[in-house]
């Protein structure tokens, strides 16, 4: 069953075609990676999925329902969770309160906060102020804030960026573990992460879908290689 799909989704910024007529289907339960060179329109595309950016044209459907006109907070309420490319947490509040804010809105009670922090390995830092955490730990906290919502669709915008190698290994284990419960849309530059985690990969280039397929197919696709390496 298709959880999320777009038809003809476009975004034009004063003549710049950041995203152009993207048709995209994400089946439930899949881990999908979205890749592309810098400026390919990945973050703009995802921004339109979760309601941070209004599309110029096209529709977004989530769980069979047209959500194109819904504001961001309503989409989150339908079961999307979003983690920011640039870490965005409540730095002035304790780690526990950060995750609790996410849990409360999603109606997750009990020990959900402790469990989510345990899964990302931050259980022993629950009473620290979030701003005092290291960069890698702040990224993990942000992922915990996504997890605790028990979302149907988890959108991760470059989650592995800035993580140390050991942390990346933990992160991969976490996503594999999660794969059974939620659909994951992963925007990622780290090809090692993409190849290992993704069931399928969508490649964006100049705002349009260049290719879609299994990691292996994408790896061998000459058009994708050209886009990344340049044809000159």
């Amino acid at each position: 069953m298709t959880l999320l799909s777009t038809r003809g989704l476009s975004k034009h910024f004063a003549g710049l075609r950041a995203v152009e007529a993207v048709d995209f289907d994400l089946p439930e339960g899949e881990v999908r990676a979205l890749i592309g060179p810098n400026g390919a329109g990945k973050t703009t595309f995802v921004g339109m999925l979760c309601g941070r950016i209004a599309p110029s044209e096209g529709r977004v459907t989530f769980d069979g329902r047209d959500i194109t006109g819904l504001p961001a907070h309503r989409r989150i309420g339908l079961g999307m969770a979003y983690t920011f490319q640039i870490t965005s947490i409540f730095t002035g509040l304790p780690v526990r309160e950060n995750v609790a804010l996410a849990a409360r809105r999603a109606g997750q009670g009990g020990d959900a906060v402790e469990r989510a922090l345990g899964r990302v390995g931050l259980a022993d830092r629950i009473d620290q102020e979030a701003g005092d955490l290291s960069y890698g730990h702040q990224r993990l906290l942000e992922i915990a804030m996504g997890l605790v919502q028990a979302p149907r669709l988890l959108i991760l915008d470059e989650p592995a960026q800035g993580l140390a190698d050991s942390e990346i290994a933990d992160f991969k284990a976490l996503i594999r573990d999660l794969a059974g419960e939620a659909t994951v849309l992963l925007i990622e530059h780290n090809m090692n992460v993409v190849m290992e985690l993704a069931d399928r990969v969508t490649v964006l280039n100049f705002g349009a879908v260049l290719a879609e397929g299994t990691p292996q197919e994408i790896h061998e696709n000459p058009a994708v290689q050209a886009a990344y390496l340049g044809t000159g």
């Binding site: 941070r52 907070h73 989150i76 920011f84 965005s88 804010l101």
Partner: protein, 314 residues
């Protein structure tokens, strides 16, 4: 000792102290403290928006005046008794803050400050324009005979103190309950990182509007009480000065602390009172002290206490 217990002891202790003080204070300070408690209620209202939600309004005089005139005009022209007149003041504050909030919250940051300032100035000018009813700058006195609430003469210092104390206690307890509940904690989250709060699924606009309405209605309660307790309503209470005062009190006392607005109001009131006893250039002394305080305690009195010793201070 748990945090909740410490919070209870501190704030309950303050209320108890204020209650007991009325029996021991000399008449002059007794009267001052009644005034301070009403003004501190205004400051607490301001703090809900500025300190907890991060919305810097420069137009709170409008809400204070809405309460004051909602009360005073209904008494003067419709012959309301104090209780319904107070309710009319509250209702005026509620309506005005809901309308202004819905409009002003379409902006943010500096634009929000300017929009709230403009609305407040429009309110001030409206008071002057409708001078036939409001008597404009000159204002009007609410006669002692009219200021009797449930048989209690509010012009009598004892009852006046008690009424001010009741208002103050209510505002303090509401503030305290608010910031410990999910709604208040979400307001803090919006202050800390609005976009993150939105992307956790919170309807940020609705919650900010809620904060404006609570703050505006509380400010109106202070304005209505002020007029009733001190027997006067005038346009000066709608002037920009009364938008700046609560900002100053909250900044001095500690934005985002429940007890800060009271400390700031008390401090500022007595700073001016004492320095004006020394010299006619008392604003110079007040100014220097304010500069020193912002230099050495930028988070205000209670904010500094929280930073250094009492991390749990709500």
């Amino acid at each position: 000792m748990t945090e909740a217990r410490k919070v209870l002891i501190l704030h309950g202790g303050l209320l108890l102290l204020l209650f007991v003080l009325q029996f021991v204070l000399p008449a002059y300070h007794h009267g001052n403290l009644a005034r301070i408690m009403v003004l501190a209620s205004f400051a607490m209202a301001y703090n809900i928006m500025f300190g907890y939600t991060g919305l810097l309004s420069l137009g709170h005089a409008l809400f204070f005046a809405a309460g004051m005139y909602g009360m005073a005009l209904t008494m003067k022209h419709l012959a309301f008794t104090p209780a319904p007149a107070l309710l009319a003041g509250l209702a005026a504050g509620l309506v005005v803050s809901a309308v202004i909030g819905a409009l002003a919250l379409r902006t943010a940051g500096v634009a929000f400050m300017i929009v709230t300032l403009m609305f407040a100035q429009a309110g001030y000018l409206a008071v002057l324009y409708f001078g036939d009813w409001t008597r404009g700058d000159e204002g009007f006195v609410i006669q002692q005979a009219e200021r009797v609430l449930w048989g209690l003469d509010l012009s009598d210092p004892t009852w006046r103190y008690f009424a001010a104390f009741t208002l103050f206690s209510a505002c303090l307890l509401i503030s305290l309950a608010l910031v410990r509940r999910p709604f208040g904690r979400t307001l803090i989250a919006i202050r800390e990182n609005e976009e993150r709060a939105r992307m956790l699924g919170y309807d940020v606009f609705a919650m900010k509007l809620g904060a404006v309405v609570i703050s505006g209605t509380m400010a109106a309660a202070a304005g209505a009480s002020y007029g009733l307790l001190f027997g006067y309503a005038g346009a000066s209470f709608a002037s920009v000065q009364y938008s700046i005062f609560p900002l100053l009190w909250v900044l001095l006392g500690g934005a985002g602390t429940v007890i800060g607005p009271f400390l700031g109001t008390l401090f500022m009131f007595y700073l001016i009172d004492l320095s004006s006893g020394i010299t006619t250039a008392y604003m110079l002394i007040a100014g220097v002290v304010l500069v020193l305080l912002t230099l050495f305690a930028p988070q205000g009195l209670a904010g500094e206490v929280r930073r250094r010793v009492w991390r749990w201070l709500p």
